[in-house]
Amino acid sequence: MAEQRVSYTLDSTLETVDSAEEKATNIATELGFGEDEVMQISMAVREGTVNAVLHGNAYDPHKKVTLAFERKSEELVITIRDQGKGLDLSKIPNPLAPENLLKTSGRGIFLMRSFMDVVEIRPSKTGTELKLIKHVHGTSAGGKEASQ
């Protein structure tokens, strides 16, 4: 796979979420990922973009979401940045804990971790940067996280 990078600057809207998912589906398919992996990548991008649009930028029309896909020799690297207040990872509850099972939200990051090989979340003063990596021949079980 030839190395290539493409990035988009997107509005903080629900349409952006669908658009990001569609872009991820197309790129993952072009790169030859299998059907299940394409679904996992597109869902991880969807969840990451939802977090950027809703929780990061809070639908603020003046704030943008940047989405980048980088094709490397053995992996697909996806970066999603927002311009929000930043994310406090310590306040994100475990959605699998019995007391949280019936909560109606809080599963987005868990799904990303489940579907991607690497999930990095870097809060900053200018927002949050989320990096999602899927290895071409990697396993998707139990995404590793390297935060900060």
Binding site: V50, L101, L102, K103, S105, G108, F110, L111
Partner: protein, 114 residues
Amino acid sequence: MSMKISSRQVDGVTIVDCSGRITLGEGSVMLRDSVRELLAKGQKKIVLNLADVNYIDSSGIGELVSAFTTAKNQGGELKLLNLTKKVHDLLQITKLYTVFDVKEDETAAVKAFK
């Protein structure tokens, strides 16, 4: 494909046939409104038929949980029917599969209500 919902009655049980995507936005709102409308009308035995739901995100999962708990809190009962593999797998990894009463056969789902 956006979401479509229709409902029908079978032996006192409301079968809600869903198709398309249950995702943040329209899909989740439609499901929420449909379930709340049924409960408001006193139709408290509800089966969500998800046979034609080909995609669900974390918001959609949250909406299923909300429908389940809302029905329960109002003295009703909500079951899931005909999960696609994708939805089944998502409920497995989120540990919700055993929370919901999941059926694979409509007749059995209807009979399962007390």
